[in-house]
């Protein structure tokens, strides 16, 4: 039996367009963790992220026949996710509660985490749950547009050009939003500096 996981995105998309829902399942397995990460880091709420993730993929499935392949499937579904999340956050307003996922235990083995908590860095020793709380609070102080850029660049590691395509803005706009967001976050995260 053919292993759909070996197929390229273009082939999976065209099979989905032809009515093969198994091909769309493969796209789900491939991209749902990244789309979840995007939505979760923009909302700081697991339940909202769960609901939005499903809505994004359901919407993509309904609209797949309109996908002409001018961009990659990943860029296309990312754009759907960003737009839906921005709309959701704006409607939700300030009435929300954080509902955070746990840190993966692998964080303790992460090189950057070890560096950050090493005694010769200017960052004080932190309790993980406190760090998580503060990071998310700082993110939520940014506007949703700035949060989207920070999530895609700093957390997901997307290049400026790709972010610009997803948002439909010039690269210069992405850079200026990042610069402004980093300045804001430097202020909000000030308390992590060693006294």
């Amino acid at each position: 039996m053919e292993d759909l996981h070996l197929l390229e995105d273009e082939e999976l998309v065209s099979r989905t367009q032809a009515g093969d829902t198994h091909a769309f399942d493969v796209l789900w397995h491939k991209y749902s963790p990244r789309i979840y990460s995007l939505v979760y880091n923009m909302t700081s709420n697991h339940e909202d992220a769960n609901d939005l993730l499903l809505e994004v993929f359901a919407k993509a499935f309904r609209a797949i026949n309109g996908f002409k392949g001018k961009s990659s499937f990943y860029t296309w579904i990312h754009a759907i996710a960003v737009n839906m999340t921005i709309n959701f956050v704006k409607k939700r307003g300030r009435r929300f509660q954080m509902s955070l996922d746990d840190f993966d235990s692998n964080i303790h083995n992460d090189k950057e985490f070890i560096e950050l908590t090493a005694s010769n860095t200017p960052i004080r020793e932190v309790d993980l749950s406190e760090l998580q709380q503060r990071l998310n609070e700082a993110m939520m102080k940014l506007s949703v547009e700035h949060r989207a850029v920070v999530t895609m660049f700093d957390i997901q590691g997307m290049p400026h050009a790709e972010i610009a395509k997803v948002l439909g803005v010039p690269e210069a706009t992405v850079r200026s939003r990042l610069f402004y967001a980093h300045r804001q976050l430097q202020n909000y995260l000030e308390e992590f500096r060693k006294q």
Binding site: D25, E55, D101, F103, I107, E115, I123
Partner: protein
């Protein structure tokens, strides 16, 4: 001294380790299939809910609606004008009476309305005033006959 930009970015990158519970994406696939199947249905339901919420909003706006005071003055002024016009006879809401038809009907019969012993009153006219029949006589009513210019019932028993 503030954290520099690189340190902020290092902190942000730690958010990659915030993960949903193991097996979450496999379990969510069933829910996705359900939403894919019911997608169009839920869309129409969402539209219905939107319409319902708009109706609710409209009704709540009605509850909070206040009649401006000028509207009361306007309604009173309209009432005064209509009352003046009707009172002076300049304007009447009654339908115009067709005089030509009424006189033609009367000229066909000397008795002007009594046909075959039954009253068939449709309209009467006097010299100046229009008279409208408001009660149409029933066919079951026994007609009263007039003899010698005096009703029969007026004859008293003492005349024997």
């Amino acid at each position: 001294m503030m954290l520099d930009e690189q340190q902020v970015q290092q902190l942000l990158r730690l958010k990659r380790f915030e993960q949903p519970p193991p097996g979450y994406f496999d379990q969510s696939l069933d829910e996705l299939h359900y939403r894919m199947r019911t997608g169009s249905l839920s869309e129409s339901r969402r539209n219905q809910l939107n319409r319902f919420s708009r109706l609710q909003e409209f009704i709540s706006n009605l509850n909070s609606f206040r009649v401006p005071q000028a509207a009361y003055a306007g309604a009173f002024a309209i009432f005064l004008v209509v009352a003046t016009l009707m009172g002076t006879g300049v304007w009447s809401p009654r339908l115009k009476f067709d005089v030509s038809r009424a006189t033609a009907g009367a000229s066909q019969n000397e008795n002007a309305g009594i046909v075959g012993g039954k009253i068939s009153l449709t309209a009467l006219t006097s010299s100046q005033q229009e008279i409208f029949p408001t009660i149409k006589p029933s066919d079951n009513v026994t007609p009263r006959y007039i003899l010698g210019g005096q009703p029969v019932s007026y004859n008293t028993p003492s005349s024997f």
